[in-house]
Amino acid sequence: MSEEIIKAEGLTKIFNGNLVAVDHINFSVKAGEVFGFLGPNGAGKTTTINMLITVLKPTEGTAYILGNDISKQNTEVRNVIGVVPQEYTADEDLTGYENIILCADLYGIPRNVSKKRALELLQLVELIEFKDKRVQTYSGGMRRRLELACGLINRPKLLFLDEPTLGLDVQTRAATWNYVRMLKKEYGMTLFLTTHYLEEADALCDRIAIIDHGKIVVIGTPEELKNSLGGDIITLSIKQNVDITNLVKKIEHVKEVKKENDSYIIKTGNGEVTAPLIIEALRKEGYVVTKLSLTKPTLNEVYLHYTGKSMRDAADESAESVMARRIAMGRARH
């Protein structure tokens, strides 16, 4: 089996001949990793997923899932992936159990296998007590879990989660994160998820691609992305009224020192290690540190740095134009 579970090559989707939703993106996802697509609404995340899960045909370029071309080997791709969509797709008129069996039938799994598997999965997502209740009576969190169970029915090698925690309360979100971690750890599953929650990407993903206006802006581990901003920031003040800029600069790991009023702003790759070194070095010279704080960059800052706007701005950014874009895409299909 190839090490690359997903390999996208110039993947592009243009709706109605002019609306570029996904613009020549390239990336690859390795076996066993949790890969996150991070971006504001309308950035092209769902369109990318829809192409990867063979619901939409790429306009240009293609992607390979476990070596199968998504535009040509549809069936092979569909058999090895599981999909947990953004929406609640379970049929409200059917029970949880019936819904899972329906999913199993769609994959052509024989009844004797699917019955056993359905119960296992309902156990896994803690819905076994409610299996014969109609989905109508389920709460939002329960419905999410049911979607997850449906997505796992064919024992996929690769699971797609489209905005898995959208609109969930804090507890349910935490529970969803735990499921994701468990699938990765215990089943060695590869997961591809989209989100517009930075903390979610940070907490779950091994690697993140930031996507904006249909293009991938940057790819890397959350640490790499944060470090690419220049690392942590240490702010410190000393008792003595002496300029220590040159002294601090010589300390290991320190990248940059700036004096602002009475405090020094120090950029470093690894704040936890550098801070004690600085204190130690200053004490040796007889200086007394009066204040010290350590700030770690968040993905929010990474996002801000790479897209030129914060997540919140992006959401506000002409809400109308984003809406218009979404509507146009909706019309175009899905």
Partner: protein, 302 residues
């Protein structure tokens, strides 16, 4: 998840799963199912009696003017009254092909219940799209054609069941079978219904699959509903319509469906007419099914 995947390649597996999903929404919902049964009873008893044209000329409705009555003896008057009543069933017979209007109308109703049911069933595809179910199904190995066919079949099965209920209910209400009716004819009736339902539901699904709002199919249905119903032989024979309406009714596939069913159930069967009905409806069904499935399939493969 080490167990190997047991994947059957049978297309029927997914087709039945999806068809049954649609049907379950109907037969597993007691209220919906009950209303399905009650609706034809209401239609038949209300419309069948309200439009009972056969009762227009009867002993009660015939009163002779006194000056006319004075010229005849009571026996003669009785005979005259008998003559007019006989005339009534003669007129019914020559106009409707049967002396029982409720039989005439019940067959029309069977066809129209089929039309309505296919129309409404087709709307579920709009919800499937809006709720994301369609996309989920598209990401599974089920073929696109199966997704469309499951919609067509569930609508067809439901329509045929409803038509059967109407026929069963019509019997105690006075339904009169034709002279050369045999139970085998029922098979022909359902073959006819099958053709029209498959054709119509393929068309409606092709229309509905493109709309994201439920209002669009609603508008389309309202537009098609009345002309398809009344510009046909469902409630009134085509020969008695004005010429321009006859032209419309003669093109309407519903007319042929209904005529075919009447030939099989209540008329003194005219085999040439029946054969022509089958050919017309068959061609219509074939063209619409092909067009509908191709259009839907192309849409799903964008």
């Amino acid at each position: 998840m080490s167990e190997t995947n047991h994947v059957s390649t049978s297309k029927l597996h997914g087709l039945w799963a999806l068809t049954n999903r649609e049907l379950k929404k109907w037969y597993k919902a007691p209220v919906v199912f009950f209303l399905t049964l009650v609706q034809p009873i209401i239609w038949l008893t209300l419309l069948g009696n309200a439009l009972n044209l056969g009762s227009l000329v009867s002993a009660e409705t015939i009163t002779f003017p006194p000056e006319l009555a004075a010229q005849f003896t009571p026996t003669q008057l009785g005979a005259l009254s008998q003559f007019f009543q006989g005339l009534s069933s003669q007129v019914m017979g020559s106009t409707f092909g049967t002396t029982s209007y409720i039989s005439f109308m019940a067959v029309g109703m069977m066809a129209f219940t089929a039309l309505f049911t296919t129309m409404f069933s087709g709307m579920s595809v709009v919800w499937d799209r809006r709720l994301g179910f369609l996309n989920k199904v598209l990401s599974t190995p089920v073929s696109r054609a199966v997704i469309i066919l499951s919609k067509v079949f569930s609508a067809t099965l439901r329509s045929m069941f409803q038509a059967l209920i109407i026929l069963i209910i019509a019997i105690p209400l006075g339904f009169q079978f034709g002279v050369n009716f045999t139970p085998l004819n029922i098979i022909g009736v359902f073959a006819m219904l099958f053709l029209i339902c498959v054709g119509l539901s393929s068309l409606f699904i092709a229309i509905n699959i493109r709309s994201t709002r439920i209002e669009t199919p609603m508008a389309v249905m309202n537009l098609l509903n009345l002309p398809l119903t009344f510009a046909s032989s469902a409630f009134f024979p085509i020969e008695k319509m004005p010429a321009w309406l006859q032209a419309v009714a003669n093109a309407n596939p519903m007319s042929y469906t209904i005529d075919g069913m009447r030939q099989l159930l209540i008329f003194n069967t005219d085999w040439t007419k029946l054969a022509f009905d089958f050919v017309y409806v068959g061609i219509f069904a074939f063209v619409l099914t092909t067009a509908g499935i191709v259009l839907s399939w192309r849409f799903l493969n964008k």
